[in-house]
């Protein structure tokens, strides 16, 4: 038997390869570098790696010539396992930017008095002598940086995956490090460990569905690759039940990752329990990667069966928006509130996703659904990142003060910070002149032109409901008198401050001049098949 070595386009794949290399190097650093210097080395390595990957991603993007009127569609690389086209490259850049912000949040040490927000020794049981010793010695887990890099590598592969196996591998590569990271909080460790365990168990459960879905679809089409599946769908051979069952199970796996109802139950518990930097990164970047993958799978592989899956997704989108917005109303914890808000946002993103049409139906100048969804996740990612960063600096004696009542009077205590947070909340509510408005407008327009107006009506109503709880938080911050001492804002180092600044600025800029980015996406947001 003759073995042919696969042809790998190292140059095109360089962004992923750099991140994986940095992750592996990070593991070696843990083994070889003295404890005292690990923090600096790991942070430096991660920052350099992400920036290098970002540069590489821009170079690859330059090769498809996105500024011309007719950009190149993209490349199929690594024996067609990965597709590097406009949506992939754009998602890469967004994920890498969010990863960079994530690294900065992970590296923040001033808030805990000179130490990171991660457990000193994760293996020590909460409340034991071991834990006390670890914190007395000032231990910290610098392994979080290589873990973060592994997750980023998975996220990069996820939206690029062009066959079901690669998709599954990417899913697991991005998920496993996140399960672990969720359990590493320095404070409230039981809550954190519970969150990690819940996330892991439910994630494993949903992966089971996903794998079974792969098996069914393989049974239907006889292939793992998206274009062969698409061919099988359009030729209509094979058992319809296999296809529908497979499609449904794959959808469950992906919808679990984006936190859509009824697969959202993990979101509030995990977002609340995980260390806030992890929550910030997870909430922002996972959404980008998962929506990238969802779009490719359902537009490229199952695009021909659009009429089969669209009605079900209508129902899921509506349910997700309602659950997210309505349940957020009765939340009293800022992190949980933001978690429900993220569920609602997943619903709004699904509205854009419903704008699926065949290319011939899209007129010149229309908002196409891929463009709309990618724009929305960008705005959502930046806003959410900054919002969680702000959550991490509002503190009291026992760490972060996430009880909403403790935020009363923040407007007086720190007008600038409370002002930024209020602005971010308005962005999430979709008030004009913030990026949230443009994003909502784009996804609603995309869904409307595909005829999904009942979903859009619900979406608009739920936006109004959602505005209520965002504004309520603003009222608490600015117009409610603090109980007792009131909140204190620990002044963070430049790391967290710059994350807040970048996120807020992005929310503003994409709200005031969204044109250039929307145009760029309009030209490049097409999948290669």
């Amino acid at each position: 038997m003759k073995f042919t070595a696969p042809h790998i386009e190292y140059d095109l794949l360089s962004p992923i390869l750099i991140i994986v290399a940095v992750a592996v190097l990070g593991v070696l650093v843990e083994a070889a570098v003295p404890r005292a210097r690990r923090y600096v080395v790991q942070v430096g390595l991660a920052v350099v790696g992400v920036v290098a990957a970002l540069v590489a991603a821009f170079i690859v993007l330059g090769r498809i010539n996105p500024t011309s009127d007719k950009p190149k569609l993209g490349y199929l690389v690594a024996e067609d396992a990965l597709a590097l086209d406009g949506p992939t490259l754009y998602s890469w850049i967004v994920i890498l930017v969010l990863a960079l912000l994530g690294v900065l949040l992970f590296a923040e040490r001033r808030l805990e008095g000179g130490i990171t927000a991660f457990a000193g020794q994760a293996a020590a049981l909460p409340g034991t002598e071991g834990e006390r010793q670890a914190s007395a010695k000032g231990l910290e887990h610098t392994e979080v940086f290589p873990l973060l890099m592994f997750a980023v590598a998975g996220m990069l592969a996820f939206p690029a995956a062009n066959d079901l196996l690669t998709l599954f591998v990417a899913l697991e590569v991005l998920s496993l490090p996140l399960y672990l990271l969720c359990g590493l909080a320095r404070r409230r460790r039981l809550l954190s460990q519970e969150a990690a365990l819940k996330y892991f168990m439910l994630g494993a459960f949903s992966s089971g569905f996903f794998v079974y879905g792969i098996a069914l679809v393989y049974g239907y089409s006889g292939s793992m690759s998206f274009d062969k599946i698409a061919f099988a769908v359009s030729s209509g051979s094979g058992s319809e039940a296999l296809l529908l069952g497979g499609m449904g199970m794959l959808a469950v796996g992906l919808l679990f990752k984006v936190g859509a109802a009824p697969f959202h139950a993990w979101t509030p518990d995990v977002y609340q329990g995980a260390p806030t930097p992890v929550t910030a990164f997870m909430a922002a970047a996972t959404k980008v990667a998962a929506f990238g993958a969802l779009l490719r799978l359902f537009y490229v592989a199952f695009g021909g069966a659009r009429w089969d899956w669209q009605p079900t997704f209508w129902a899921i989108a509506i349910l997700t928006m309602v659950v997210g917005s309505v349940l957020a109303l009765s939340q009293t914890d800022v992190k949980r509130l933001l978690a429900y808000s993220s569920i609602a946002h997943a619903g709004f993103l699904l509205v854009g996703f419903l704008g699926a049409r065949s290319l011939s139906e899209i007129n010149v100048g229309d908002i196409n659904p891929v463009q709309a969804v990618l724009f929305y996740v960008t705005t959502y990612g930046l806003t959410t990142m900054a919002a969680f960063a702000i959550v991490s600096v509002v503190r009291d004696g026992s760490g972060e003060a996430t009880q909403m009542s403790r935020w009363a009077g923040l407007g007086k205590e720190s007008p600038l910070l409370a002002g930024s947070f209020a602005f971010l909340l308005l962005g999430m509510a979709g008030i004009p002149l913030t990026s949230g408005f443009t994003g909502k407008w784009a996804v609603f327009a995309a869904a409307l032109s595909a005829g999904a107006w009942p979903v859009v009506i619900v979406a608009v109503l739920m936006s109004a409901v959602a505005a209520y709880f965002y504004v309520r938080l603003i009222v608490v911050m600015f117009f409610t008198d603090p109980v007792g001492d009131g909140p204190t804002v620990t002044v963070p180092s430049l790391l967290t401050s710059s994350v807040i600044a970048v996120g807020t600025l992005g929310t503003l800029v994409l709200g005031v001049v969204p044109g250039p980015l929307l145009d760029l996406l309009g030209r490049t947001a097409q999948f290669i098949r």
Binding site: F205, L244, G248, P262, A265, T312, L327, S330, V465, Y468
Partner: protein
């Protein structure tokens, strides 16, 4: 090329691209704009030299305007409409607005007026504001005003005009309320702002209507297409632009803000509320001659408004004891003359602009003179506390007297040439309007003589501890320059120059015959007689008696009405504010009962739904897994049901 003029009865705005010296055009605006930016953003660091920078920017702008003007003089009459394209401002579908500057005969004279008088007032302010600790900010605002005013007169598009229009409104607001510690100044600024908004609505709606009618808002396109537009559209546009002009130029019924605007520092009154900004309405009408020339109805409205205001202003001026308010009434009245002239169509446009220029000279002169008097009298503005200042302030007196003779229209001072022409043309158009304008001239003579007598002649009625003195040179030199202009401004009409110069912009004027076949010289003599009568009455009533230090209480009903600004504010209160307030109360009740009721009901429903759903989130991973399983089953069931059901 076909002779467009022959087919077309209004002049078309041309667009010769800029070359040579004209490429400096943008600098005229950029210099004061830069000055404003440095002074307002630079903060206290610029306190020491801020006023000098501000003045330098205005003077620099003036020098460039002069260069441009002489270059324009050297060009052929056909090439005198120069357009400088700066950038595309915005494009929405087929509608595109360019940031273009139009430099033609009309904007050329405005540039000279704004930057010239502006520079003199900057210089004067160095002395006048010397002891004010916020002087730097004052100069920043002045520069901002000059830049905005220049945008207004240079824009080649109604949207550009709107930008400048709002800019001068803002600068005017900031400057009227400059002494913000005085509640009266703050209130006056607010009032000016609010009333101006009414006019601004006129301009924005007018611009919108222009866009609907012509598909463009640039002067070039609109002027070329205006003769094809329907009468209704043209009249509508004309009336909306007139509303805009009423707001900015303090014409009836939006006149009430101007008298209160005198709360601002006196140089502001001179520059903004006499010489330049308040004449923006006249500019707008003359610039839109391609609209107004084609609509008799709108022009009639313009004439009526102008005539009412010129009489109102003059009557109000008669009863004021506050020297600045008397001058403000006079400004209203003189702008009324300009608006009246502008309403007379091609025959009057040039005279409106001519009177605007001469008025800019002599009124700025008199306002600055009033400022100089106040400077010497410890900022007292009550003329009943003046008297016999002629000896104490000889230069101020001499320059003020020049302005006085000019506004009265005594030959050969500037006002004679411009006002005479307006009254003549008014008579040629309609005898009634001409009579009103003639009476206005008589009343003007009365109140100006009264002002002169009470201020400079008669007995000393000064407050204790007041030692009038002549103002420093930095203040008197601008006065002398403006006095010279007031005396010599009439030269502009030598050989009919101003009319010929503006004709390519405003269109050819038909020659009008005066009623009864009068020769113009007879008309001039009649006007002079009426003016002399006004002076004589004032001399009898004011000059020959002792002026009481307190304003008498027992006065005729007319005086009382004039003192109350002819009940302009009372009218607004009764007709607009009170019904408005009642309407708002009604809406508030509606809002509370109907809107809030519905909203709160919905909110309660959602909240209880939320509380119930929340119980599902019980924290047990087994329940979550069950939900996940149920969800997956539902999804698959739904997929199958949709396709096989």
């Amino acid at each position: 090329m076909v002779n467009l003029e022959a087919l077309h009865d209004v002049p078309v705005v041309g667009s010769v691209p800029t070359d040579g010296a004209f490429s400096l055009l943008w600098l005229v605006i950029a210099l004061p704009a830069l000055g404003a930016a440095i002074l307002l953003l630079g903060g206290r660091r610029t306190d020491k030299w801020g006023h000098l920078l501000g003045t330098a920017m205005a003077v620099g702008s003036f020098v460039i305007s002069l260069i441009l003007f002489f270059t324009l003089l050297g060009k052929d009459a056909d090439d005198r409409q120069v357009t400088q394209h700066l950038w595309n401002w915005f494009t929405a579908g087929s509608y595109s607005v360019n940031f273009d500057l139009l430099y033609d005969q009309l904007s050329a004279v405005f540039l000279l007026l704004i930057t010239g008088v502006g520079s003199l007032i900057h210089v004067y302010s160095i002395g006048y504001m010397e002891h004010d600790e916020r002087r730097r900010r004052f100069f920043g605002y002045l520069n901002l005003f000059v830049a905005s005013m220049l945008v207004l007169v240079l824009a080649a598009d109604y949207v550009g005009v709107f930008l400048g229009w709002e800019g001068v409104g803002l600068a005017s607001y900031l400057l009227i309320g400059f002494w913000q510690q005085k509640p009266s100044a703050a209130a006056a600024a607010k009032k000016a702002f609010v009333i101006n908004r009414v006019g601004d609505i006129g301009l924005s709606l007018g611009t919108a209507l222009i866009f609907i009618t012509f598909g463009s808002t640039s002067f070039a396109v609109v002027s070329a297409a205006s003769s094809h537009a329907s009468d209704g559209a043209l009249t509508g546009i004309g009336l909306l632009l007139l509303l805009a002009a009423c707001g900015k130029s303090a014409q009836f019924p939006l006149q009430t803000w101007l008298l209160d605007a005198m709360e601002g520092p006196t140089p502001v009154s001179a520059l903004i509320h006499a010489a330049t900004m308040v004449t923006a309405g006249v500019y707008l009408i003359v610039r839109s001659n391609f609209i107004f020339s084609l609509t008799e109805d709108a022009r009639t409205a313009v004439i009526v408004i102008g005539t009412i205001t010129l009489l109102m202003g003059a009557i109000i001026g008669c009863a004021k004891d506050d020297i600045k308010k008397a001058l403000a009434g006079s400004t209203m009245s003189q702008i009324g003359y300009m608006v009246l002239a502008a309403g007379l169509g091609p025959a009057g446009y040039a005279f409106a602009i001519f009177h605007l220029l001469t008025h800019g000279f002599f009124k700025a002169n008199m306002f600055l003179g009033a400022g100089s008097v106040m400077h010497g009298m410890n900022d007292d503005v009550n003329m009943r506390h003046y008297g016999a200042l002629q000896k104490a302030m000889p230069i101020t007196f001499a320059t003020f007297a020049t302005g006085y003779l000019a506004i009265l229209g005594i030959p050969p001072f500037a006002g004679f040439w411009s006002k005479d022409k307006i009254i003549e043309t008014a008579f040629a158009d309609n005898t009634l309007v001409g009579l009103c304008a003639l009476i206005g001239a008589g009343v003007t003579a009365f109140y100006m003589t009264r002002l002169m007598l009470m201020t400079f002649v008669g007995t000393k009625r000064w407050e204790k501890d007041v030692h009038p003195h002549e103002s420093p040179k930095v203040m008197t030199y601008p006065l002398i320059a403006l006095a010279a202009l007031s005396a010599l401004g009439g030269l502009l009409t030598l050989g009919g120059w101003i009319g010929d110069w503006l004709e390519p912009v405003t269109g050819h004027a038909e020659h009008h015959e005066l009623p009864f076949g009068m020769a113009p010289i007879v008309m001039s003599l009649i006007i002079l007689l009426v003016v002399a009568a006004g002076v004589a009455v004032a001399w009898q009533l004011v000059g020959q008696r002792e002026v009481p230090r307190e304003a008498p209480e027992k006065v005729s009903i007319f005086t009382r009405a004039a003192r109350a600004d002819l009940y302009g504010d009372a009218f607004n209160d009764e007709v607009i504010i009170k019904p408005g307030a009642a309407g708002i109360r009604g809406l508030t009740v509606f809002d509370r009962v109907v809107v809030d009721g519905a909203a709160e009901g919905t909110a309660t429903a959602f909240a209880s739904m939320s509380a119930r759903f929340r119980l599902l989130q019980n924290g047990f991973v087994r329940s979550y897994a069950l939900a996940l399983l149920a969800g997956a089953a539902l999804v698959i069931f739904a997929l199958l049901a949709v396709n096989f059901g």
